[in-house]
Structures are given as C-alpha cells and as structure tokens.
C-alpha cells in the first residue's frame, strides 16, 4: 500500500518548516518597516500629485468664472447707462494692485459700445487720473467723482491729473469721466468702477448714483475668499 514515512523524518520536516517560517518572519519583519515607509511615501507622493492637478484646474476654472462674472457685471452696467452710441461709452473695472509701489490700478474688465473688450494691460498709479483721485480717500470718506473735461488740450489736462506727458499722449482722448469706489468689508477701496465717454458734458449727477448702486455687486465677486478664486483685497 503506501510508502512508510519514518517518525524521525517528520521530526526533521517539522524542524525545517519551523526554521523556514522563522526565517520568513524574520525577513518579513525586517523588510516591513522599509516597505511600509516606501509605500507611505509613494502613496503621499501619488496623492499629492493627483490632488494638485485637479486643484490647479479648479482654481483656473473658478478664476475664469470670476472674470466672466465681473465682465458680465461691467457689460450690464454699460447697458444700464443707455447713453447714445456716438458718445462712445466705456465701462472699465480697475482693481487695486497693492503689490507695487506706488499701488496701481489695473484694468480687469472692459466693455465698450462694441461689447466686451480685452482690458488693456497698462494701468495707472493711484496718483494719476480721475480713478486715482477716486482711490484716495478725502477725510476717510469714499467718494464718487465726475469730470466733464473743458475744451482744450487733452494731453495737458491729463498731465494736470498726474500723468507723465509721454503716458498722457498714449491715452485715448475722452470727454468725461465718472469713477466710483468699490469697497470691502473694512471700507478699504479695492477697485474703481470707471465710466468714460468720448463727449464732454454727457455724464450727470444721476449717472453717479446709478454707478454707485451697482458697486456692491462688484464687491461680492471681488472679495470672495482666496480658495474660491478671489483676491480678497
């Protein structure tokens, strides 16, 4: 019938198995911390890599949505004004850049009679133009400003308003300006809504009131927390 296995052989086999198991545990025990840390490291690296990419995409998307919302509000403001097309009405949103010295007002959204336009990458310092006057508070009061330029040399008038002559020559000739400040929860001016026309005498006190009434909505988009795509002041 079957082959006889001596009892002594089972003893050897048992001893060999125990020895092999001991070696396996010893090897496994020794390697586990090394592999565990490597594994954790790889998981963290992989997790970080896969988290950063969607976060960056989300940030870009939110930033793009924010820009679209601000541009739509600028467009809506342009529509609200309902001034004759030959006045060449422009509505510009200028955000305060506090990373420069002096602070600068930079265009972030623009609407002309032809619809949404690409904002210029040039701006002005807070010491220049009607927008600069609007940024600077008088006795801690935030004020709207209206200027209907008198007949005369436009470049000279812009020099009087703080521009260098060379800068003034590059500006588009305008006839009237209306600027109203956009504030945050601390009542700091974070942006300026500028309305200008090609003709002088077009902008009236009621236009200032109209522009002021839309500014809280700009505040809403400009002060959303950083994580939601905003600049937060």
């Amino acid at each position: 019938m079957g082959r006889k296995i001596p009892q002594k052989s089972f003893g050897y086999l048992d001893a060999t198995a125990i020895a092999a198991s001991g070696l396996a545990f010893a090897f496994g025990g020794g390697m586990l911390p090394f592999h565990f840390l490597t594994g954790i490291g790889l998981i963290l690296a992989g997790g970080g890599m896969s988290a950063v990419s969607p976060l960056r995409a989300r940030r870009r998307r939110i930033s793009s949505e924010r820009w679209n919302a601000l541009s739509s509000l600028v467009e809506l403001t342009h529509t609200l004004f309902d001034i004759e097309t030959d006045c060449d009405l422009r509505v510009t949103l200028m955000q305060v850049n506090k990373k420069t010295n002096p602070f600068r007002l930079e265009q972030i959204a623009l609407c002309t009679c032809g619809g949404r336009a690409t904002p210029s990458d040039t701006g002005m310092t807070i010491h220049q133009g009607v927008a600069g006057h609007c940024y600077r508070k008088t006795d801690q009061k935030v004020e709207s400003m209206v200027v209907n330029l008198p007949p005369g040399d436009f470049v000279e008038q812009m020099v009087e308003l703080g521009f260098e002559r060379e800068e003034a020559k590059k500006l588009k000739v305008r006839g009237a300006y209306l600027c109203t400040p956009i504030i945050d929860s601390m009542k700091n001016v974070i942006a300026v809504l500028c309305i200008d026309t090609g003709k002088s005498g077009v902008l009236k006190p009621e236009h200032a009131a109209m522009a002021e009434r839309v500014t809280p909505f700009f505040t809403g988009f400009l002060t959303v927390p950083q994580g939601s795509g905003g600049e937060n002041g």
Binding site: S144, G220, T223
Partner: protein, 63 residues
C-alpha cells in the same frame, strides 16, 4: 455765451445733487461721498450677508 451758460447749468446741477467742485488745474472734479446705504450694502455683501440688500432692492423695484 451759450457755452458758459451750459457750464453754469452743469455746475449748478452737480452742486444741487450734493457734489463739491475741486479744481485741479483747468479741470473741475465734482466729488460726492458714496451714500451710507451703498457703503453698508457693500460691507454686508463682503461679509456674505447679502439677503437684506437684495430684498430691499427688489422691494424698491416693486414700488
């Protein structure tokens, strides 16, 4: 003459609306403090308390 009259009318309209003229060279800047209502609305919206302003605005339109 007509131009001067227009300028005077314009100046009067701004002053009657609460603006203060300020001369900067040949340019006159008309300034007026932003209304308390608009400032409060901006502050509330910045603090994400928008309901009051929006409802008030709608009720004004209804009237």
């Amino acid at each position: 003459m007509a131009e001067n009259k227009t300028k005077e009318d314009q100046e009067r309209a701004f002053i009657e609306a609460g603006f203060t003229p300020e001369k900067v060279g040949s340019v006159t800047i008309y300034k007026r403090p932003v209304s308390k209502e608009v400032i409060d609305a901006s502050v509330q919206i910045a603090e994400k308390r928008t309901i009051g302003y929006i409802s008030k605005d709608f009720s004004r339109h209804k009237r």
